[in-house]
Symmetry: C2
Subunit: 167 residues, 2 copies
């Protein structure tokens, strides 16, 4: 327990009630729950980053450059992520006969299993929210978020927070 636990209470509305904080804490809560779920389903080694990346790889596969573009990171970062996912058995690298420079990244069966498990989790979660918040309010939530979300890609966050130069 905190040496001055009461301070938390006193400053709660200042510190914890601002919209950005609510957004990031909601995000974190959801993703934590998802990863607990995945862990129980036998995918304990999944990282949040891999989830982002997995969804950026479509059925026909993507090039490293395309992956980088979708994730909003550099090609080098995307290549590293692809390698890690490859070593985790989540992605595979193939040559592209039509362009010898590109290596096409595809999902493995295991990756599809992770995505399926995630989708199941989200469907169940959405049902819970609808029940808890009410259908109408849930729709309002989604619509408001869509308006606030802007057009930025779903950039991987660590590097964004850590980045020293802003664009």
């Amino acid at each position: 327990m905190s040496r001055k636990g009461w301070i938390i209470v006193l400053m709660a509305h200042r510190f914890d009630d601002e919209l950005p904080l609510l957004l990031i804490r909601s995000f974190r809560t959801i993703v934590d729950e998802l990863h607990d779920h995945l862990s129980n389903a036998g995918f304990g080694e999944m990282r949040a980053l891999h989830g982002f990346a997995l969804k950026a790889i479509d059925d026909e596969g993507v090039s490293i450059s395309e992956l980088a573009w979708r994730l909003g990171v550099t090609k080098q970062a995307a290549a590293t992520t692809a390698s890690v996912m490859e070593s985790l058995g989540l992605a595979e690298r193939h040559a592209d006969p039509r362009d010898l420079r590109v290596s096409v990244i595809t999902r493995t069966e295991r990756a599809n299993a992770v995505l399926g498990e995630s989708e199941r989790f989200y469907r169940r979660k959405e049902a819970q929210w609808r029940k808890k918040l009410g259908d109408e309010r849930y729709e309002v939530l989604r619509e408001c978020l869509q308006q606030m979300a802007g057009t930025e890609p779903a950039t991987s966050i660590p590097g964004w927070l850590g980045r020293s130069t802003r664009t």
Copy 2:
């Protein structure tokens, strides 16, 4: 431009429309705007991390341990953050006469200026949202987020995403 730009469009609803993505993208959009604003106001060296930390330092100052607890990170991480903020002229370290082990971290005038600028920005931003979304819908948004946010502290995100062991 992307080699296969159309794929983005095709998968847009799959990839960009899930609630977690909406949350993180909204968060990112807001924080980006804030930092643009701070940059124009002469605080270009501010990092998102420092914003988290600044709000965790109250008027009387906090110890490293308390700071760590509030941010949801290790004491070592909090100490490093405090040092960085000290070198940026945002925080100061004082001895605590009542306990020689603790060093009390306080905000500087510069830090207060940053917080003031942030608050001005958020107030203006909130007014924009209320106007754009409607007062009632905005309130629904806040209430829903508060219910989804859970009780986790406002953990700094890079380490959370990068963490290999889940608790």
